[in-house]
């Protein structure tokens, strides 16, 4: 959970081209939680308004009758009260009861989700380590042996000039090249599963990321303490995606990557001097980021007016 999230962290939310991914708006308190679809909510709202109007009409007519001495007009207060009860008070009451019952459950879900998220991060790290110690090491050993074999065969072919040896040399050479490519692919795969640079902390990993970027990156890191492993991974992949976006789409000449970690809150901000117009649109990369950030109740905020600059801010809790 975000500790005391500020609703408007940058003072930017009012600008044109602003988008913030946040949880869906809370339905009105008189609509029960079990009604989850927009159609259902509209229907309930329509019925409630009708009931409310009927109640107001009944009270008005009843009051007029009472005032004019017709005491039986007070009978109209009964349907008015019933309508008011069904339309407004009863759902509210039920909802309050729901909240009372679901509070502990929500907290439990949050706890178990945090466990799942951290466990997934730890599992991916183990897979990367297993790849490094297993398949990657095996492939390096294979490549060494093939390299030796190729060199010896090369000498033998040069000395004897035998045709079939030459054919074997071609095969070994092709196997050697294939194994080299496999190593490169394995390395990229392992890196995508869990960036090894994170072993030395988020700061070191982000510095390595900045060094590899196609655009000049100004790095401003203030990470006195390490967030949890899952948060570091999310922050790293978000930074990687945002730097790639800036280099690919924005036409920027310069990017700034700021990352701070202050009690409870990791804030990552990528600003570029490009052409702006970045949107959280279906199928776009930013949606993927927003989804990833939401798994830990984080927030993604995009300020990207046409003409630039683009500032993407991501806020994450210290722990999943």
């Amino acid at each position: 959970m975000l500790r005391s999230p500020s609703p408007n962290p940058d003072g930017l939310t009012s600008q044109q081209g602003d988008e913030t991914m946040q949880p869906p708006t809370r339905p009105a308190p008189w609509i029960a939680r079990s009604i989850s679809t927009e159609f259902g909510r509209r229907h309930v709202r329509g019925v409630a308004i009708t009931r409310l109007l009927v109640a107001i009409a009944a009270v008005t007519v009843g009051s007029i009758l009472c005032v004019s001495g017709q005491w039986w007009g007070a009978l109209l207060f009964v349907p008015a009260a019933l309508n008011l009860w069904f339309a407004y008070l009863m759902p509210r009451w039920k909802r309050a009861l729901d909240d009372l019952k679901s509070g502990p459950r929500v907290r439990e879900l949050e706890r178990s989700r945090a466990l799942v998220v951290e466990d997934a991060a730890a599992r991916l790290r183990r897979i990367e380590q297993d790849l490094h110690d297993g398949a990657q090491a095996q492939m390096v050993a294979v490549v060494m042996k093939l390299g030796l074999a190729r060199d010896r065969l090369g000498n033998a072919v040069a000395e004897s000039g035998q045709r079939d040896l030459e054919r074997v040399l071609e095969l070994v050479d092709a196997a050697h090249r294939g194994a080299m490519e496999a190593i490169t692919e394995l390395r990229d795969l392992a890196h995508g599963i869990h960036p090894p640079a994170l072993a030395e902390g988020l700061g070191a990993a982000l510095a390595a990321l900045a060094a590899r970027s196609d655009l000049p990156v100004d790095l401003d890191l203030d990470l006195p303490e390490r967030p949890s492993a899952a948060i570091e991974v999310i922050a790293y992949f978000c930074a990687a995606e945002l730097l790639t976006n800036a280099a690919k789409h924005s036409g920027a000449r310069h990017v700034t990557l700021e990352t701070t970690h202050h009690p409870g809150l990791v804030r990552l901000r990528v600003s570029d001097d490009g052409s702006g117009g970045a949107r959280i649109a279906a199928g776009g990369g930013l949606v993927g980021l927003a989804d990833r950030v939401k798994t830990v109740d984080g927030r993604l905020h995009v300020a990207s007016p046409a003409g630039g600059p683009t500032v993407v801010t991501i806020e994450l809790p210290s722990h999943a």
Partner: protein
């Protein structure tokens, strides 16, 4: 050459020993962690050490720290660091320490390069002789970092090629052969590179490479962090 190998993967350790023995070198010790590496070097005073970056106990940068310590305490031992991944920061720290001590004798290569046995053994020999052997990828990343830091006039493509080959440890003659240009042309490019970085050309090949790379990297002023957090801008 007498060589110490430090690599935590037994299978790669055995492979390295096989390659080196095949080329007539003697592996005096093959160890699996940085601590054993230090004591092996203290004991055997080898010509060169081949060191993996990621080793127990932390599996982070133990190899780099050990390499820097070896270069400091054993000027006669060249250190070739090899790694599954290129980390520019590690390379820069290594180069910074090497140029600070006044001698080269360091290398930083991707692990895959051992697949080309002859080139790998050649690189190791250069490092043992006090030269350099840097992965082309390291040079590219260092150059990129320097562009953003100082807004230096970017090197031309040709100058970049020459610097990359210099960093790999090749002589002007070898660079000329590789790029199919005259040795005079190489000398001209080298002079241009030095003037672009406002450096005084020095007499030996290794010193000049280190001068450039030292200039590009963060250098010894940026020590390896001992704590998990870091601050930089």
């Amino acid at each position: 050459m007498r060589i110490v190998v430090a690599e935590d993967s037994a299978i790669i350790r055995a492979g390295l020993a096989e390659i080196l023995a095949d080329r007539g070198h003697v592996v005096v010790a093959a160890v699996g962690n940085a601590e054993d590496l230090q004591s092996a070097v203290d004991k055997h005073h080898p010509d060169a050490a081949v060191v993996d970056v990621r080793m127990p106990p932390g599996y982070t940068d133990e190899g780099i720290r050990a390499a820097i310590a070896i270069r400091r305490d054993h000027p006669g031992t060249g250190v070739l660091v090899f790694s599954q991944y290129i980390e520019t920061r590690h390379a820069a720290n290594l180069l910074g320490a090497a140029s600070g001590s006044g001698a080269a004798g360091v290398g930083y290569l991707l692990k895959d390069r051992v697949g080309d046995v002859s080139e790998f053994v050649e690189a190791l020999s250069r490092v043992a002789a006090g030269g350099t052997a840097l992965d082309p990828e390291v040079v590219t990343q260092l150059l990129r970092a320097s562009r953003r830091a100082d807004g230096l006039g970017a090197l031309t493509a040709r100058e970049h090629d020459v610097l990359a080959l210099m960093a790999e440890g090749r002589s002007n003659g070898a660079i000329a052969d590789t790029l199919v240009i005259s040795e005079r042309a190489v000398e001209k490019h080298v002079a241009n590179i030095f003037s672009k970085f406002s450096l005084t050309p020095s007499e030996t090949d290794h010193r000049r490479v280190l001068a450039v790379l030292r200039y590009l990297g963060p250098g010894p002023a940026d020590p390896l962090p001992d704590h998990p957090g870091s601050r930089s801008s």
